[in-house]
């Protein structure tokens, strides 16, 4: 389980300490053991459709009208770092 937790943490872009890996592995084992009742006790028929949403899904359209958008200074107002009209982040492309 610990390898899986490390792998999933990488996918989720969260660094975990060794203590967290141990703790979460134990807790996830317990939770997954509990949710496994879906696989063990319940025989779901193939024709049961999966549900992703309480209402029948349909596209929601609005009129194609021009409306004011968020001005750059407002959009950038919470930026941890910015430069001009841009969010500033560490270098992405290695030299």
């Amino acid at each position: 389980m610990e390898d899986k937790v490390r792998y999933v943490a990488r996918l989720a872009r969260i660094k975990l300490t060794d203590e967290e890996v141990t703790l979460f592995s134990r807790q996830l084992d317990g939770i997954l053991g509990y949710v496994d009742k879906l696989n063990q006790k319940l025989d779901v028929q193939n024709r049961t459709l999966p549900m992703s949403h309480p209402h029948e899904a349909s596209n929601s359209f609005r009129a194609d009208e021009v409306k004011p958008s968020l001005p750059p200074e407002k959009a950038l107002s919470n930026a941890p770092q910015k430069k001009g009209d841009f969010f500033k982040v560490p270098r992405i492309i290695e030299e």
């Binding site: 899986k4 937790v5 999933v8 943490a9 996918l11 989720a12 872009r13 969260i14 660094k15 975990l16 967290e20 979460f24 807790q27 996830l28 317990g30 939770i31 997954l32 509990y34 949710v35 009742k37 879906l38 696989n39 319940l42 779901v44 049961t48 459709l49 999966p50 549900m51 992703s52 949403h53 309480p54 209402h55 929601s60 609005r62 968020l70 407002k74 959009a75 107002s77 919470n78 930026a79 941890p80 770092q81 969010f87 982040v89 560490p90 270098r91 992405i92």
Partner: protein, 481 residues
């Protein structure tokens, strides 16, 4: 006038109508109450008297909530005001826009009064997962107020707010309402716009009212409900005049009691209080029938797969780029993501992101996520069957126990998750439900019952709850603080 803070919105509005009180006096009264009792309760994260008072000067000439202070859960965006989901990763965040419900409240003259504490990102049932501090139950400060809208429930219960707004993904309005002795409602999925609600699980989340009585819940829902083009999941169904359904009459109403919700091992005092409530409604002319929701036992398992899957996806946006916390001196982009999220998220948020990512990951998707989605269909079908059989609503306990002690369940996530066992199915199905006080334990802790309705039939819940409330005086009790 003294003790304005202890009145309901309905009572204050009639005083305002008669011009015997001014909005400023109400704000002063509620604020000074919060000053004196919030040291014990810790329901507010952000509260600014001047900001509340300044709104009193610019109120519209008329409005259904004109001059009424409403506390807002900290996951709902208020333009220019701290909105942090009680998380370190959003410390300092001031949204550049208002949630739709904030616009609606303001246009009806409500005063946006402080932001209330919650479990971080609404992940929890006790308010202990806040990154600030835990909120405590006004009826016994050694106990939790419930969660995740624990701050909103506690401030209404302690008369530190006249009304409050919460959000409910698996019981986060109803369970704290029950544990704090107030009324709380999760509306039908799509009834209230989620625009500006910071998402936890988008197919489950819904905003709703927490109030001192049924009238105020009906009043507040009437203001915040309705279609919104900014939320593609809001549904264009007309909003009825909920107040017109507040009649002391349930004659002919058919109320279903699901046998799966009354099982061995549930708290005896909770069971007794709910059974007395059933008897009261029967005495008022309701027809009581036993019904079955056969997939109830799978609800918690389905929920913790679907809710964490959606949460892991929704929380991907907190990466230190556009807003919120960013770690110091990142070595590169990946390091920035990983350390920002390590340092910014609390333990429960990390646990849920890990679980959610796991159930969505290649090789496990079919066994967990797809399976859970199919069982979700079965759970929804259960409710549809009951309402098709002619039931107007379903009555259950809201929570299997009264408020538990601080720390009692915080080290065992599964025992915490199981405290939502009676509320979770409702979110999975998408139907509306309300919690109303229905008694007190010998130790003086509130007990709540839940009324569940058919899609977009909130008015039936208000009618049943109002009739019940007319026959009891639980809602008139207040904690001693």
């Amino acid at each position: 006038m003294d003790n304005l803070y202890s009145l309901t919105a309905g009572e204050l509005l009639s005083l305002l109508d008669k011009k015997s009180v001014k909005p400023e006096e109400i704000i002063e009264s509620v604020y000074s109450r919060a000053q004196s009792v919030d040291k014990k309760i810790k329901g507010y994260i952000h509260l600014d008297k001047e900001k509340a008072l300044s709104q009193a000067k610019g109120l519209p000439a008329s409005g259904r909530l004109r001059g009424i202070p409403v506390a807002i859960k900290d996951n709902i965006c208020v333009e220019g005001e701290l909105t942090t989901c009680a998380s370190k990763i959003l410390r300092g965040f001031k949204p550049p826009y208002n949630a739709t419900i904030i616009e609606k409240l303001k246009s009806e003259g409500a005063v946006i009064f402080g932001k209330t504490n919650m479990d971080e990102f609404a992940f929890g049932s006790s308010c202990e997962n806040s990154s600030y501090f835990p909120t405590l139950n006004p009826w016994d400060t050694a106990r939790i107020p419930g969660g995740s809208s624990g701050g909103s429930a506690a401030v209404v219960s302690a008369d530190e707010a006249i009304m409050a707004i919460g959000s409910d993904t698996g019981g986060s309005i109803r369970q704290p309402a029950s544990l704090c002795g107030v009324v709380g409602m999760k509306p039908t999925y799509g009834r209230v716009s989620r625009y500006g609600l910071i998402a936890f699980a988008s197919s489950l989340d819904q905003i709703g009212p927490l109030t001192k009585n049924v009238h105020d819940a009906a009043l507040l829902l009437g203001v915040i409900a309705g279609f919104d083009s900014k939320d593609s999941t809001s549904v264009n169904v007309p909003v009825p005049d909920y107040l017109s359904y507040l009649k002391n009459d349930v004659k002919g109403m058919k109320i279903g009691i699901p046998k799966e919700y009354f099982v061995a091992g549930m708290d005896k005092e909770v069971e007794a209080a709910v059974k007395e409530a059933i008897a009261l409604l029967k005495g008022k002319g309701a027809q009581i029938v036993e019904v079955t929701l056969p997939h109830t036992e799978y609800a918690v398992a389905v929920y913790y797969i679907i809710a964490t899957a959606e949460a892991s996806s929704n929380l991907a946006r907190f990466d230190g780029v556009q807003y919120g916390y960013r770690c110091e001196d990142p070595a590169n982009l990946l390091d920035m993501y990983e350390r920002t999220r390590e340092e910014g998220f609390g333990a429960e948020a990390k646990r849920r992101i890990i679980l959610g990512t796991y159930v969505l990951s290649s090789g496990y998707y079919d066994a967990y996520y797809l399976k859970a989605q199919k069982v979700r269909t079965l759970i929804k079908n259960d409710f549809e069957q009951v309402f098709k059989s002619g039931c107007d609503c379903i009555l259950t306990p809201t929570s299997p126990t009264p408020a538990f002690k601080v720390g009692e369940r915080s080290s065992d996530p599964l025992s915490m998750y199981l405290s939502d066992i009676f509320t979770i199915s409702v979110n999975l199905a998408g139907v509306p439900a309300l919690s109303i006080p229905c008694g007190y334990t010998k130790g003086g802790l509130p007990v709540g019952m839940q009324l569940i309705g058919d899609f977009f039939k909130e008015e039936e819940l208000f009618r049943a709850a109002y009739t019940y409330e007319c026959g009891t005086d639980w809602h008139k009790r207040s904690p001693e603080l």
